[in-house]
Each structure stands twice: as structure tokens, then as C-alpha cells.
Subunit: 284 residues, 2 copies
DNA sequence: CCAAAAGGAGAATAAAAATTCTAGAAAAAA
DNA sequence: TTTTTTCTAGAATTTTTATTCTCCTTTTGG
């Protein structure tokens, strides 16, 4: 009897299409037991795997037992795993036809679409362009030199204001996760001077600034570099006030759209630099 | 002996990609025996059936015996039917073929250059992937709805911690330049509660958080949303604690490299959203 | 803190699938 | 036409895969 009830309460409406299934999972995933919720998350995050994999391969990737997949499928109301999998396969089947179209709209610049979606496409395009250019413009030796210089530093100070601030903020996060000591000079309360006061010759400074160069960045960089602190600069022109102060510098030219410059390339460089430093530290 | 020869002449080069297989089939289909040619035609005409079906179901649709499929696969040089089917599945797995090619050329260069520049390429690759996916996954209506909601707000509060912080910091910059009143809840001195205290029903909150969701973000968002402040969330999963609180939310799935997730897509969305808001404000 | 219920892991089982084998049919060569 | 070779269908086999079951663990309710 109790078994019957258990089954009965779970049955009812096994959605036959992917979107329905997806929203059902989103609804119920909080009320599901641990492992089943785990499967639900995996299913939503990796629908392709769900479509192609075998119960065993999917189970492994989702870190559960194959039997859990079956229980999962039955709990939501399907007959078994295979029945559930059919939904995911159907999704790929149905999606296929318009696939060619999508590709076309992707490669051709979308002149036909207008207004808001155009914005997203535009910024995406600018980002991709920036990243491609970055790959072509930065060479090994440059990155290597900068990374070596920074890896030798005791503490890495990070300075960037206005548009460049998000990048230094991110580097502070990344370097922290990588176990590299760094200090973010965020200039809160205009305390930049104090924040950078202890940077010495054994430390290093990463300064990031784009046109129009924020005065705070320039002044703090000058003051710090004058004390003999090694400087790595990321900027957008060889004529930037930072280049003459820098021991190593990168020119990053970003594409723009709607009067806003992408930051993709600069972020990319920041990440690569961070990881390079960590690798060198580990004796790489 | 004759068996050996038969096998030998057929072996050689089983193509590992769909296009190669396709052209091979078109070449050889005239010289193949009747039933095998029949299978070849079917395979080219119904590649998705080949990907999904079982040997039995495909055999039925192609009007041959299941064993013929195995013979067919072996005749072209594959180990068996399953081996052949993998080609068809791979084709559906990696959509965006032209994009994959580009990436391939990208990763080829990885091999020539070594070490550090590989990092740069890797991050660039992850960024491009993320941006492509974003374009594919976000639709006009979604962006429009969120932008409308935010455009109607008096003040826009921005909340994001840890990895998401750079994005909110950038949005604060962008919205400022666009003449949209916004407040960045940076939680300096753990003053987040105070910073968000004055957000009311006529304002709006943009919350950004990725796994593992920073507790500060979640708590502040909950508290703020509970006061009836409209919420737009940007997160990485439908199961994020933010989605249930949000009036509109975006799922942004970023590619990663070297254990660091790209932020490109999220930045791109942030920029598009910012400009959309400004456009709507101007009566767009 | 204990008891009862629900959930989960892993082995055991059942089902389904691919593959191989064999006998016979069709085609090609003599 | 006969003989030989190649090809094919369908049954038999083996492998893979899904599912069920049992025992143990965790959680929940009193």
C-alpha cells in the first residue's frame, strides 16, 4: 500500500518535451533528495551528454550510480532511464533543422535583426574580434618577461581605476586563488597613496590604464615607480604615460560597439598573466 | 588467403569526421554491393537517424538486416556498427562546425608555440566559446523584459561579490556614463546591508552570482527582494538560489580553461543590458 | 536520543543490443 | 550451363546496457 502511494504521488505528468522537462526539474529540484537533485542539475547543465551517453557514462560524469539515474527517471514519472533519455534525444533531433540558419546568422553579421538583440550580437562580435586580435598581437617573449618579473616579486600591487578597475579587481581574485600574494589598490577613500606606500623594490606593480588615462592611476604609478618598484603596464597605446615608466608593457587594442569598448582581451591577458605567474612561482 | 585480401583491400582509412565519411561514401557507393550501397545512401540522407537509432531500427528504415549494417561498417574500415555510429553522433554533439574549425586552427597553434602563449590562446578560446554560446542562448524577449524592468526603476542597485564583482563594478561605470542612476553595493566594510537599505519598490536590483554562490550576495539579495525590490539576476544555473527570487534572470554558461572560467559572456551581457536600459530610458 | 522511514550504493538480473556465424541465393566467370 | 565467388538473410551468440533488488546509511519525526 505504502509503495503504491509512493509511486502514485510521483506520477502524474511526465513532460514529453524538453522545455517542459527543464522547467519541471527547476521546480522540483529543491524538493528532491540529494543525489536526485544532483542528477537534475547535471541533466540541465549537460543535455547533450544526457542525449548520447549510456547510463553508465552519464552516471560517472554526474558522480552517481547508474541505478540512481533509473530511480531519478522513475521519480519524475518516466518509465525508466531510456524513456527519459528519449526527451533529450528528441531535443537534438528537432533542433537540427534550424541549425543551419543559426550558423548563417552567426557568421553573417546580423544586419537584418535590429534594436536590442543587435546589441548583444554587437558586443559579442566586438569581444570576439578583440580576443582574436590579442592572440595575434601578444608574443611569447613579452608575456614570459612580464610573468618572470612578477613571479620574482614579493607582493604584487594592482592598480587600475575607472574602466580598468574591474580587471585589477579580477586579478586580485585570481591571484588569491592561485596563492600569489597581491594587494588591490582600489583607492577607496582616496587612500591609494597609503595603500601603495609599502611597495618596495622587491615587490612589483601592475598598472592598467586606458585613454583618457585616469589621473589617479598615472600619479600613483609615477610615485610608486619612482621608488624603484618594478612596473608592468597594460595600456592601449605606445604613447600612454605608463609605457615610459614600465619595465614591461602590453598594448591591448579592444574593438568597440555602441561607443563602449570591449574588455574581453584585457581580461584574457590578465588571466593568462596571473596563471603564468603562478606557474613560474611553482618553479615552472 | 582470399579472405585476408578481401579485408585488406577494404581497410586503410576510416575517416574520423563526418565530412570525410560523407565524401568517402559518395565516392565508393557506386562500387559497393547492392545492399551496402543502399545503406550508404540511407546514411547520407538520414544522418540523424544514424546517430540516434539502434542497429535494428536503422536497419528497418533502410530495409536491410541489422547484420548488413555491421558488414557495411566493417567494409568501409570501421570496427563495427557502433564505431561508425560514433561519427554521426559526434556531428550532432559539436554543433557550430565552422566555429569548431576555427578553434581547431587555434589549438593547432597551441602545439607549435608552447607553455605560456598556450595560456593566452586557451583563455582566448574559452572567451570566444562563451560569447558564441551567449548569442545562441539569450533571446530578444528576455533581454527586453529585463531592460524594461530596469528602465522603469528609479535607482538601479548592483550587487556581485568575488568573481562577479568586476562585472557589477563595470556596470556601475557604464551606467554612469550612460546617465543612469545606479549604486554599487560593493560591501566594503561589510556595509552591504546599509548600502542596500534604501532600495525600495520603485528601484531595482541587479544581482550576479556564480557557483559557489557567495553567501553575502545571496543574503543581501534575499533581504532586498523580500522588501519588494524588483530583481534581475545573472547566474550560471537555473538552480541558482537567485532564480527563484528574480523577476527576470539570465543563465550564462561560461567556458573555462586552466580551472578559470571566462567572464567574457557575462561582461557582454552586462554591456548589452546597460545600453538597453539607457535606450529605453530615452524613450526608445 | 531512539525509532521509523526514506535514500543510496553496489551486486544480481533481465533486457536489449551488436556482432558473428552459417546456410543458401545471386552474380560472375569459365 | 556449371562452377566458383561474392553477397545476403536470418538465426545464434556474445557483449553491452538498463533495471531490479537487497542491504546499508542517512535523514526525519516523535
Amino acid at each position: 500500500m505504502s509503495k503504491m502511494e509512493t509511486v502514485a504521488e510521483d506520477l502524474g505528468d511526465p513532460p514529453r518535451d524538453f522545455v517542459g522537462l527543464r522547467s519541471l526539474l527547476m521546480e522540483r529540484h529543491q524538493t528532491l533528495p540529494k543525489r536526485l537533485a544532483q542528477v537534475a542539475r547535471f541533466a540541465v547543465a549537460h543535455p547533450d551528454e544526457m542525449a548520447f551517453g549510456t547510463a553508465a557514462s552519464i552516471a560517472e560524469q554526474a558522480s552517481v550510480q547508474p541505478s540512481t539515474l533509473v530511480r531519478f527517471a522513475q521519480t519524475i514519472g518516466y518509465q525508466g532511464f531510456s524513456d527519459l533519455q528519449e526527451i533529450f534525444r528528441a531535443r537534438l533531433r528537432d533542433r537540427w533543422p534550424d541549425y543551419e540558419e543559426r550558423l548563417e546568422s552567426l557568421s553573417h553579421q546580423d544586419r537584418d535583426r535590429e534594436g536590442l538583440p543587435g546589441l548583444l550580437d554587437g558586443f559579442a562580435q566586438a569581444g570576439v574580434t578583440s580576443l582574436m586580435r590579442l592572440r595575434d598581437s601578444i608574443d611569447a617573449a613579452q608575456l614570459d618577461k612580464a610573468a618572470a618579473l612578477l613571479a620574482a616579486a614579493d607582493t604584487i600591487y594592482l592598480l587600475g581605476q575607472r574602466r580598468a578597475f574591474p580587471i585589477t579587481a579580477y586579478m586580485a581574485y585570481a591571484l588569491g586563488k592561485l596563492g600569489v600574494k597581491s594587494i588591490l589598490i582600489d583607492n577607496v577613500g582616496t587612500l591609494g597613496q597609503e595603500q601603495s606606500a609599502f611597495a618596495g623594490k622587491k615587490d612589483a606593480l601592475i598598472s592598467i590604464s586606458f585613454t583618457p588615462y585616469a589621473p589617479a592611476t598615472i600619479e600613483l604609478t609615477k610615485a610608486t615607480a619612482a621608488r624603484g618598484v618594478p612596473l608592468v603596464a597594460i595600456t592601449d597605446s605606445p604613447f600612454s604615460p605608463l609605457t615610459e615608466l614600465a619595465d614591461a608593457w602590453f598594448e591591448v587594442v579592444e574593438a568597440d560597439f555602441a561607443a563602449f569598448r570591449s574588455l574581453s582581451a584585457c581580461f584574457c591577458l590578465a588571466m593568462a598573466l596571473s596563471v603564468s605567474i603562478a606557474e613560474k612561482r611553482r618553479g615552472g
